[in-house]
Symmetry: C2
Subunit: 406 residues, 2 copies
């Protein structure tokens, strides 16, 4: 696998654009991604019972349509809690995009992110769709424009692109994302859009996405709130001319690993850009009973407010980590746990077999004062291993999320 | 039911004491509660896999002994993550207390709260047990001393006492508690001890406690972390001379309501004293499909970091409340939800049938600037109703929990 510079236009046959239409005050706020030929599609959506209108639209398209051709996204307004008007506005976005690109509406996916409970401003959106459709382009800049236009309070664009060789054919997978959690008032959404020029059938793509999200987006936590708009969409257009990929293909693992890499890389970028986050935390659990137990333990540690504030304070507060493992729901023997903290400043073991060690507090503090910190918990129960990513809980988080919406 | 001034010594036959023995720097740190006759006992314990030594001890006693006579509690040290030494020290606390009171060790319950991972200082504890046993007393002051000695970073003692008349007999129920969550580094525990002079058989008492905790301690949230030491214990000594109480008794509901009241009152006191908490939040869900759905929805709202920071900022951010209901796991129709905020400053409806209303933002801000705020979510799905209690998420929470342990 080769990591390349690029975004969603790196795979063949895809074009993109990002424009300003006036939903936000100044910044780009509308993006289109389109393919020159039909794409198989897979999607993963928020489990929140309160779903924004575009989530319902996309779920229907992904469940019922064999292929799609385009994706339109606006930022600045989530089109959530907007009742029947929201459904109509979402459908209008699809229709306007379809008209501009000479497609039918059910070939167009729709996403929205931003404030909740405010009707979409359809006049600027209609103008924006027209403008964005006109400047669709397969260039590097076009993918960057699109990646910019989906941001809300993110501080940087999040793009990943890779290339793998499958039986002599160059196959590309690329993606762009915007952050979730540590979220600005009413702006709660994780969006991730993946393009690939691989040839892959729809059920295979959906199954692949289903496993890939488990160790990527499901292993990050910013503040534990699941938004009304969270969406991951994958479009595969076959433009590489690759053979149809599936687990039966001899080089499936090459493709699968690259696909997983793109999701994991985007998930980590989301955490790095958590608002108010000063530190990037990685938690690895090894030697758990099985992989699922390892995931549950790692995620429980990274999600604990007490653990997160301890990292904010550069405090080697191992008791909170054992405590978070204890209430995770995974079964394990607490007296089998070794615990380490690591960063560029070194490595310190703080717990052995569940019992605290007399460790060097100055070294520990130096390690935890770094901006990237790894926590390693080693159990002796099996082969299960998993890694989760998160960020600290800071004054800045409270400031950002406590301030008045207006 | 009559609410009376008093603590765990209000029920007949109980005495208490609280002394300073030197586990903490200055404040009282060791308490004993004792009964002049055998008590039936019920307990509820942390679900954390990492259990402190005294939790394991008490679970064994409650499961295996018909009656107990005393309870010894230290603060300042949790005796958690202390391995075999912790088990031995816990047993020594029981034995020392039994010796001082002429009981056997398996008649003594033990609780500890404070720092994790540090062996108990057994010399001061032994002196403290001896001193506390000598000053055991049935006075009001004695219960206050005991309630003081179990505190860690709590800012006030938490005591409740009530009296009910059952067939002409005065029956008392009383309790004391210490706070959990918003907890000081490594000091994570909720303890609640209830005494009653009712006559009640052990299985009946355990069943009663099992239902009572569901709508009291299980409906409060401070920061979502479940400690290694959480313990609720009930001692019933029959000294009132009441008939044996059970659901078959004609006045069972009178007793049950008083028993529930004591637990709920203590649970609310714990939330009011959450460190860093500036506001007391009550969330009531009405009209849910059933009681369990109402509980799940109310608890999800009160536990959301985003909701808590919004209340800290006096922000009528109803979108976060709908969002937290949506990911709670309970099924409901989002378009059936009416939402209200209330406080001493008035009442404002912000959502009707899932759609935002154009409400008076100035009034909403005035309402949410109060220190006690009620959120009411009304669904149209059934008769389920529940209330949860919590507090805001403030800068102070981050400061307290982020600062270095030493």
């Amino acid at each position: 696998m080769k990591i390349i510079d690029g975004g969603v236009t790196a795979p063949k046959g895809f074009s993109a654009s990002g424009v300003y239409c006036g939903i936000k005050k100044r910044k780009k706020d509308l993006a289109i991604i389109a393919s020159d030929r039909p794409c198989t599609v897979a999607g993963s959506f928020t489990t929140n019972v309160v779903k924004a209108a575009p989530v319902v639209w996309d779920q229907h398209i992904v469940a019922n349509e064999a292929t799609v051709r385009a994706l339109v996204v606006n930022s600045g307004n989530a089109n959530a809690c907007t009742a029947a008007q929201g459904d109509a506005d979402c459908q209008a976005m699809a229709t306007l995009t379809a008209d501009a690109l000479a497609l039918s509406a059910n070939e167009v996916l729709v996403c929205s992110t931003g404030v909740i409970g405010v009707p979409l401003p359809m006049i600027p959106i209609a103008e924006g769709i027209e403008a964005a459709a006109k400047v669709l382009d397969a260039s590097r800049q076009a993918s960057l424009d699109a990646a910019t236009a989906i941001l809300t309070t993110d501080t940087f664009t999040k793009e990943v692109a890779v290339c793998v060789e499958i039986e002599g054919t160059q196959v590309h997978i690329a993606g762009m994302a915007k952050g979730s959690g540590m979220i600005h008032p009413n702006m709660a959404t994780m969006l991730s859009f993946i393009t690939t020029d691989a040839t892959i059938e729809k059920p295979v793509l959906q199954a692949l996405l289903g496993t890939s999200i488990i160790d990527s987006y499901h292993m990050i936590s910013v503040d534990g709130d699941t938004s009304t708009n969270d969406t991951v969409l994958v479009l595969a257009n076959g433009a590489s001319g690759s053979a149809s990929l599936s687990p039966a293909h001899p080089q499936w693992e090459v493709f699968k690993n690259a696909f997983d890499y793109v999701h994991t890389a985007l998930a980590k970028l989301i955490v790095r850009d958590g608002e108010g986050a000063g530190k990037f935390l990685e938690v690895t659990v090894q030697g758990a009973k099985d992989k699922q137990a390892a995931r549950t333990l790692a995620r429980s540690i990274i999600s604990s407010s007490l653990v997160k504030t301890a990292f904010f304070g550069s405090d080697a507060n191992w008791g909170r980590i054992l405590c978070a493992m204890g209430y995770s729901g995974a079964s394990f023997n607490p007296r089998s746990v070794d615990l380490y903290f690591m960063s560029e400043k070194g490595r310190v073991q703080v717990v052995e077999a569940g019992v605290p060690l007399a460790f060097d507090e100055r070294l520990a503090r130096a390690i935890l004062s770094e901006r990237e910190i790894v926590t390693l918990a080693v159990l002796k129960e099996g082969e299960g291993q998993a890694t989760a990513w998160g960020c600290d809980l800071s004054y800045e988080y409270v400031r950002i999320n406590g301030e008045y919406r207006s």
